[in-house]
Amino acid sequence: MWPYLIRRILAVIPVLLVVSIIVFLMLRLTPGDPASNIAGDAATTEDIAKLRVQLGLEEPLPVQFAIYIKNLLRGDFGESFYYKRSVISMIGDSVEPTLSLALFTIVIACVIAVPFGTLAAFKQGSWLDRIVMGFSVVGFSVPVFVIGYVLIYIFSVKLDWFPVQGYQNLSEGIAGWAYRLILPSLALSVIFIALIARMTRTSVLEVLNEDYIRTAKAKGLSQTRVLLKHALRNAAVPIVTVIGIAIAILMSGVVVTESVFVIPGLGSLTLDAIQGRDYPTVQALIILFSVVYVMINLFIDLLYTLLDPRIRY
C-alpha cells in the first residue's frame, strides 16, 4: 500500500505541471487585459502601457512563464494584481466559507440521500421509490439559483426564520455560523441528494439480487441487518465515488450558491479573479483545485480498501 501511496502522491507533480502550463497559457491567450481593467475607464493608452510593464505583462510569454514557474517552485504564488495582497492569504480567507458550505451540504445530502436511496431500492416500485426517483429528477432539473430564491422567499422573506444572505465566521460563534449555512446548504444539497440517492438506489438494487443476500435472508437475519450490513456495505464503492466527486465539486467553489447567498468563498473569489483577469489569483486557485481533486480521488481510492477487502493496492 505504501509504495502505491507514494507513487500516487508523486504522480501529482506532473499533473500540477500540466495544469500550470495550461492555466498560464489559457489566461494569456484568452481576450482581456488586466492592466486596462485596473487603470480605469479614463486611463490613457500610455498609462495602460506603463501599467502593463509594471505587471510584467510586456515580457515575452516564455520569460513570463519562467518567472511564474520559478516563483511557484519557491511556493510563491504572487500578489493579486488588484488588491496587492498575497494570493495565498486571499485564498486562505476564502477557504473557510467554502469548506463550511461543502461540509454542511455533504452531510445534509448523505444523511438524506443514502437512507432514502437504500429504502427506495428495498421497496422497489413502491410509492416511496417513486417519490425518491421523482425527487431525483426534479433535483437534477431545477437550477440551484431557483431553489435558492424559493428558499429565501419562503424562509427569509415570508417566515423570517433565516437571514437572506451572509456568512459568519466560525470564530464568531458556532451557532451563528451554522444558522447562516442552513439555507445555502439546503439549496445546494438538492442536486447532490438527487445524485447520491439515485446512485445508492441503483447500487443497492444490484446487490439485493446477489446470492449472499438471499442466503442472509434465509439465515433469518432481520431486514435492517440485511440492508445495512450486507447490502449497503457491498454497494458502498460507487456511492463513495459519487460522494467524493461531490466533495471535489463543492470544494472547487460553488459560484452560483455563493453569489445568491453572499458567501465569500472560493467560488466568488474565482469568479472575481476571472472577470478581472487577475492572473496570479486564477493560477493559484486552479492549482489548488487540481490538488484538491487529486487528493480526494486518492482518499477515495484508499477508502475502497476499507469498504471492500478484495481491493488491494
Binding site: 482581456g32 493579486s80 488588484y82 496587492k84 422567499y153 460563534g173 458556532i174 451557532a175
Partner: protein, 527 residues
C-alpha cells in the same frame, strides 16, 4: 441522549449570545451599503476606477468641492485670494484639519498631493502647464503661481470625479504616481479599517472623531461633512435579487445601483425608498475608433449623429421615462453650460439624411466591428439598437458579444478589427465627467495621447486649450458652442442621452446628500 441535550443547550445559548451581539452591533449605528462594485484598489490617484474615487471621498478630503449647482466651493481651504493679474493664488487651510494618525494637515502635504495628482490626472496635467511654482507660505498656507492666467485652477482643484485631487500626508503623496500607495491615511470624515477589509466581501470605515466639518450645511460635495453613523460597511452582494431581499429585510441599508428592472418591485415595497441622489445622472456614449475605416471618415461618423435617435437607446436600456432624459447638450443638461448648438437637427433618427451622408462619404460596405458587452445590464441592450439603426442606413455591422472585461482589454488595441481591434462600442459615464470640455474623456482629440478611439483633431484641441485659458464664463460658453459645432461636423463620439440611477434605501435611512458621487456623510439611520 444526555449528550444531545447538552449540545442543544449549547446551541440555544449560542443563538441567544449571537442575537445579543447583533443587538450590540445595531446600537453602534452601522450603515450597510451595497456599492456598484467591490473595492479593489485603494489608491484613487493611481487608478481612475469609480470605486477607488468613492473610497477616496470616504478617507480623504479635498481643497475645493462642487455644490449641487456645480459651483466650486472651498472645503479644506478657509480663505483664498487671486491677484489682480490672475497669476498668483494664495490659500489658507482651515483650522483643525487632522490626518487619521493625529498629525495636522500642512501646506507641505497639500503641495505633495497636488504634485502627485498633477502628474497623473489629465486635468491636473493641464493645470500644471500653467503652474510655474507651488510653495508653502506658512504651515497652513500655500501659494500657486501661474505663468499665464487661466480659469482652470479652482475648477481643477474642485474636480469631482476621477482623478480627484485628494490630500494625503506628504510621505504618502511622495509615492511615485505610477506606483500604488501602501498606507491609507487621509484627513477625510472616515477612517479606512484596513484590518477589516476583506476583498470580495466587505470594506469598513469608522467615523473619524477628529474630523472638523465646515460650518455651512452640506450641499453636494461641498459644505459640512457631518457624519451621523459610527461605521459604514460596504458589503459586496453580486446578485440583484438578493440585494433587494436583503434591503427589504433590513440586512443592508442602501443599494447604490439597483437593477432598473427591479425598481417597480422596490417601489411597491414599504420598507424601501428610491432616492435619486445624482442630479446630473449618467450619459451614454457611442465611441468611434478613428484609426480604421469606416470611422476614419468624418462624414460616416456624422451620418450616425443623424441616424441615431436618443429615445430608441434610452427606451431599450432604461425603459421608464422617469429615469432618462433626452439631452442634445454634449456637456450635460441642467448645467450653466447646457447648449444644443450643433446638434439641433441631429440625434433624432433622420435615416434619409444619414443615407445621403454615407453616399457622399463613399462608404464601401466595410463592416463595422461593434463590441457588445453582454454582462452589464445597463449597457447590454444598446449595441443591438445601434446595429439595427446602422443597418437601416445601409452599413454592415459585425456585432461581437463579449464580457465587459474583454471589451475593456480590446478597446485599447490599435490594430485593425481583423487583427483583434475594433470599430465601435457603447459605454456610460457619470455625467460630471462629461460636464466640461476639459474633463470629457472622449473629447480629448490628441491623436495617440487621446483615449481609445484616438481622435485626432487640431481644432478641437485648440478650442479646449482656449477654454482652459478663458476665465470668463460667458466667453467659456461661446467656446463650448464652437466645440459642439466642430464635434457635430467631425464627431469624436455620440452622446446618446442621460439616464438616472436612483439609490434604493431602507425607509429608516435619511439625510443622504445629493451628490454626483456616492458619499456617506449626512446619512442618519433610525433604529
Amino acid at each position: 441522549m444526555k449528550l444531545i441535550k447538552t449540545a442543544l443547550r449549547k446551541i440555544t445559548l449560542g443563538v441567544a449570545t449571537s442575537l445579543l451581539l447583533m443587538g450590540t452591533a445595531q446600537a453602534e449605528s452601522v450603515l450597510r451599503v451595497n456599492m456598484h462594485s467591490d473595492l479593489k484598489i485603494v489608491d484613487p490617484i493611481w487608478t481612475t476606477a469609480y470605486m477607488s474615487r468613492n473610497y477616496g471621498y470616504m478617507v480623504y478630503d479635498t481643497l475645493f468641492s462642487i455644490d449641487t449647482s456645480g459651483t466650486v466651493q472651498p472645503q479644506m481651504v478657509d480663505t483664498h485670494t487671486i491677484s489682480e493679474d490672475g497669476l498668483t493664488y494664495d490659500f489658507t487651510l482651515r483650522e483643525g484639519l487632522m490626518f487619521h494618525d493625529d498629525q495636522p494637515v500642512t501646506s507641505a502635504d497639500v503641495i505633495a498631493s497636488l504634485k502627485r495628482w498633477g502628474a497623473k490626472d489629465a486635468m491636473g496635467q493641464k493645470m500644471m502647464t500653467f503652474v510655474s511654482e507651488m510653495s508653502a507660505t506658512g504651515d497652513n498656507s500655500f501659494q500657486i503661481k501661474l505663468n499665464e492666467p487661466t480659469g482652470l485652477v479652482l475648477q481643477a482643484l474642485g474636480k469631482p470625479s476621477s482623478n480627484v485631487p485628494f490630500i494625503m500626508p506628504e510621505r504618502i503623496a511622495a509615492t511615485d504616481p505610477g506606483e500604488q500607495i501602501t498606507e491609507y491615511i487621509g484627513s477625510g470624515p472616515f477612517v479606512f479599517l484596513e484590518d477589516e477589509w476583506k476583498p470580495g466581501d466587505k470594506a469598513e470605515f469608522a467615523k473619524f472623531e477628529g474630523y472638523v466639518p465646515r460650518d455651512e450645511p452640506g450641499d453636494g460635495l461641498a459644505g459640512g461633512k457631518v457624519v451621523n453613523v459610527d461605521k459604514v460597511v460596504w458589503q459586496v452582494i453580486r446578485d440583484q435579487q438578493t440585494k433587494m431581499n436583503a434591503l427589504s429585510k433590513g440586512e443592508i441599508d442602501v443599494i447604490e445601483s439597483p437593477a432598473h428592472d427591479l425598481l417597480p418591485l422596490m417601489e411597491e415595497d414599504e420598507n424601501i425608498q428610491l432616492v435619486d441622489l445624482n442630479p446630473f445622472g449618467n450619459q451614454y456614449t457611442f465611441r468611434f475608433n478613428q484609426l480604421h475605416p469606416p470611422f476614419d471618415n468624418a462624414k460616416v461618423r456624422q451620418a450616425l449623429l443623424y441616424a441615431f435617435d436618443q429615445e430608441e437607446f434610452l427606451y431599450a436600456a432604461i425603459g421608464d421615462e422617469k429615469y432618462f432624459k433626452l439631452c442634445k447638450a454634449m456637456f450635460i443638461c441642467d448645467t450653466p453650460i447646457e447648449t444644443e448648438i450643433g446638434f439641433e437637427d441631429k440625434l433624432q433618427g433622420n435615416i434619409e439624411k444619414a443615407k445621403e451622408l454615407l453616399k457622399e462619404a463613399g462608404y464601401d460596405g466595410t463592416p463595422v466591428l461593434l463590441m457588445h458587452p453582454t454582462d452589464l445590464a445597463v449597457l447590454e441592450p444598446l449595441p443591438p439598437v445601434a446595429k439595427s439603426i446602422m443597418e437601416k442606413i445601409g452599413m454592415k455591422v459585425d456585432m461581437q458579444a463579449m464580457d465587459w472585461q474583454t471589451l475593456v482589454g480590446r478597446r485599447n488595441k490599435q490594430e485593425t478589427p481583423a487583427e483583434g481591434g475594433w470599430n465601435a462600442f457603447i459605454t456610460s459615464w457619470n455625467s460630471v465627467d462629461n460636464a466640461s470640455p476639459l474633463t470629457t474623456p472622449f473629447l480629448n482629440a490628441a491623436c495617440d495621447k487621446a483615449l481609445f478611439g484616438w481622435p485626432c483633431d487640431e481644432e478641437i484641441q485648440s478650442l479646449r486649450d482656449e477654454f482652459s485659458r478663458e476665465p470668463d464664463s460667458a466667453a467659456q460658453l461661446a467656446i463650448i458652442e464652437k466645440i459642439q459645432q466642430r464635434v457635430s461636423e467631425a464627431p469624436t463620439h455620440v452622446h446618446l442621452g442621460q439616464w438616472y440611477q436612483p439609490h434604493a434605501m431602507s425607509v429608516k435611512v435619511s439625510g443622504a446628500p445629493v451628490s454626483p458621487v456616492p458619499v456617506f456623510w449626512g446619512y442618519s439611520k433610525a433604529e
